[in-house]
Symmetry: C2
Amino acid sequence: MSTEEKKAPSRKEALEAIMSRWAPAPGTETVPVPEALNRVAAQDMFAEYTLPVVRASAMDGIGVAAAAFQKGIPDTSHWRPGREYARADTGDDFEDRFDAVIPVESVTFLPDGGVTIAPDTAVTAGLNVRPAGSSVKKGEQILPAGRRLRPFDLAALTLGGKVDVAVVKKPVVAFIPTGSELVAPGTPPERGQNIDSNSVMVRAMLEEMGAEPRLFPIVPDDPAALRAALERAVPVSDIVLICGGSSKGGEDFNADIVSSMGEYILHGVASAPGRPMCAAMLAGKPLINVPGPPFAAYFVLDWCVSALVARFLGAEPPARKTVRARLTKDVGPTPGMEILRRLEVRRSADGFEATPVGGRGGCTFRTLTASGQTVTDGGGTGHAAGDVIEVEYLR
Amino acid sequence: MSTEEKKAPSRKEALEAIMSRWAPAPGTETVPVPEALNRVAAQDMFAEYTLPVVRASAMDGIGVAAAAFQKGIPDTSHWRPGREYARADTGDDFEDRFDAVIPVESVTFLPDGGVTIAPDTAVTAGLNVRPAGSSVKKGEQILPAGRRLRPFDLAALTLGGKVDVAVVKKPVVAFIPTGSELVAPGTPPERGQNIDSNSVMVRAMLEEMGAEPRLFPIVPDDPAALRAALERAVPVSDIVLICGGSSKGGEDFNADIVSSMGEYILHGVASAPGRPMCAAMLAGKPLINVPGPPFAAYFVLDWCVSALVARFLGAEPPARKTVRARLTKDVGPTPGMEILRRLEVRRSADGFEATPVGGRGGCTFRTLTASGQTVTDGGGTGHAAGDVIEVEYLR
């Protein structure tokens, strides 16, 4: 390992270096509540109405006056609906002169409208009655700013009388694939060519993060073309990603261009795949040069870009399932370098088992599509077959 | 608890009763790969091309002929690019007469085109060369039928030369809100009225499950109107949900209508909220009568409808994060009944802590929007404050 690699920042240090230079200024927009799934609330939300407006039955039953039950259960055989009682099903309001609900299970309805009430029924004022505001009170806080809205949050907003909600505008993330060897999907690759699969993957990842992807066409290995693409992308984006050309190859002049256009932050992290990633600030916006191999691009999006998008939105990234799984093979120590390992996670007799897939640099289908992942911590111990470790489950 | 309640099936038994009567026949459709996120592959997918087509450099470096290194490092000061060596950066192909790649870190480029190679460099044929097909081989399986496609699966399909993918058609799930007390969102509720918040929540939940929601307008408590809505919904849906009117209230005639139109399966489960849910088969399609209170509707969608959608799609439901959290309060035993409890989950010094929110029947904002949940198992023990239990994390 060269001296330069030893000095490379960890993922955490790299993020701190970027975040410390970035003051995102997200806008807000108002969207209909039914279209706000997974958007982030831009302000605290308060209820417009009180529900129940007056009161509601908490059970299916009959509304009665509790006063009639002060000396035990009265003779109810001559009762009539609308006179001594009223049907009051779950959620129903009923006339003010009734103040308790007897569950339907304790009531027998007689053919002439009278009722029989089970002898062990105790009736007091307020029994099975939900008072005004027991669901919602006008002015009550429904949810706080910064919340990523889940389906039940949309229900809460609706119950609170909201039809629109102010949300944080999605950050526009430009994605510029570079490389003269790349051909667009659908083009049969010839010798020396490769298919641009990152545009498709990155678009989907950005959408799941809550960002708005803006995909640019493939830029060949030509400094003027790359500079032109950057000049188009930066003004219309909140975050810019250049993909490919981040390492030390002869055609990898991205770092030079970026240096000339903005503030260079770092080139290289102690994390693989994706070790040669670069970060810079251009016009107050983070620019990440994402390495081109798909598995490297995946990892840099997963740890770095998702953190930037979450910071912009002011919300946690979406939660990801983790499982504790028993390793079926050793995962070697990785001194000085955090390394992403993909694993196939399967249910086993006593929980889950995880089989490491592929090596460090490989990007085969099986590595890319494996169901789980873990990141080794850069320490000198690693894990042995049989160890139970926490694994992120991706499906 | 009445005898009838004691006989109610568990959630597992209820699902088995529905599934055993249902033979879904999902169709397939072809969609562009970039639009296939979270769709379910309808068939095994195989690669169209081999990548690298011939070979590719695994490093940024220079391609050389290993034969020149048989007796150690030769004098390379007179070498010229394109004659004795070629630039070969990561992913690049290079001329056939070269068969090894020396990393750029081991090479010093001289002004006249010659190079100096670090003395400890060992060069053998194939060094740092990825052979044809090391990423992908034509005919290799990319992924199997039944896979819910994640962003990296879309990359794998693209690398394998696919631009379209056959996916399982989304099940159309009709949602019919019922209740004369309901008003549409945006209408100020008067005494005795309630806002239909379930349509908004259920639409979002169905979309996340991978279903296509078809929302119907509110149907008043009128048997003819409900029958008409069902007659419209059943032919155009794969699964039908009626919301509200599932319990034993005087206006809850849904069960009678459903019985007259199809095969009644069950009324009532040993699970709360949502205990009075009904299930039936109509024209070979499952019909679920979802209880109306939002928290009950949420739970029935979460355990029952999501399982039906997953069965239709032939894929696991999307994974949900779980955390082990320390309870800050007792959660009482729930003999004979599985009960959903929502909890606020927070990070604590030693992991997570979870505070139960609301009671069994309550549906306040705080219950509905709490960040976690657990289902008590219907046993007689419960959990005590201080116990560490597994909690589903919903944000």
